[in-house]
Subunit: 238 residues, 2 copies
Amino acid sequence: MEAVSGVRAILFDTFGSVVDWRTSLISELSLWGKERGVSADWTGLVDDWREAYAPSLDRVRRGELPWTILDDLHRMSLETLLARYGVLDLSEADKVWINDGWRRLNPWPDAIPGLTRLKQRYIIAPLSNGNFSLLLAMAKAKHIPWDTILGGDLFRHYKPDPETYLGAATLLGFPPDQIMMAASHNYDLRAARSLGFRTAFWPRPTEYGPRQKRDLSPEEPWDVVATDIEDLATQMGC
Amino acid sequence: MEAVSGVRAILFDTFGSVVDWRTSLISELSLWGKERGVSADWTGLVDDWREAYAPSLDRVRRGELPWTILDDLHRMSLETLLARYGVLDLSEADKVWINDGWRRLNPWPDAIPGLTRLKQRYIIAPLSNGNFSLLLAMAKAKHIPWDTILGGDLFRHYKPDPETYLGAATLLGFPPDQIMMAASHNYDLRAARSLGFRTAFWPRPTEYGPRQKRDLSPEEPWDVVATDIEDLATQMGC
């Protein structure tokens, strides 16, 4: 692998790339609704919740909101959506539990086996817009074998702001060309590559549901294009 | 364990508490000197290197030096000591290798078994004055099973500055009384307790060598007093 020789650390986008947020949240909320006798269009609510993600990050990135961790941005969106979907009169404990669903997302089937192999040879960590405590809770709940956690709150910036990628490189003590950004989202890799990082892509064609139109394939010749994280491990010599 | 109910995360002092810096560095340098035909009082050099530690941190803590990571403070001290001990004409690669000895320190025999047990039930992480990349390299080299890394450079402060303990609590998202600071140094626990953290102590009576005088016993009634990290795991219900 000429293209990726010298890589010391692999940083993973997390939501969508490593964990399946959509199926996890829809199934958890549907079950909860059934047990609690609360009916609603949970699929619509979850899709809208994720749709609110980028605009809420952008409000922070543009300075319209002061630094706010993702847990709190999720909670702000959730309040609006519960009202819109007619899910009323929830207790604070219920809302906390629903919001913490982002801490209980299930890894895609290839994620843990692939990461476990990659960990033998590389430093592996999330580089996610999730906050440190969210990512750590998820790792503990789902046994994701990260060597360490890198969340947006370490840098008080959200991807694709360069401060996130470059802040990670500073902490790791490696130049960007010894670090690989690994993701199922082209925009993330584009930002990392522009700063000198190596890149790896695999598609998650159902991340956004059956009618997904974005990120179905690599939009640039990334250093590695894989079918999933197990294939990435194979291609990285693990 | 009434005193420690509700603990979610245990943060470990690392140098001395988890790893045996003195024996590791002396034996590594002695072997290196023998192979390279460089003779010197390696024990004296290592003891002086560690003696330079607190004063160099204090220069940063008092603002006499701008923020400087521990790797670089170690290197500054090393330059002085190599001259004082008559170890001359080393290449840059040699100096980097010697300085990186802090990344290859051996855990005390109870550390990995104890941490592995504690990890089943608690979040475990170093909260060390070592920099992030140093602690991560050590964890990879010695298979220390941290859930994540917390180094001084995340906070740009050194213990016992309150910014380190409180910065860790903010990232973890827990109030201090749900976090235990665990160390073989009373000063560290004193600082943490004053901010509301739980505390655990075990002695390392040979950390500083055969004539050690400090930290031979707990100087306050810490929440847990253990014989080592395996005993800590037992006392914490693991």
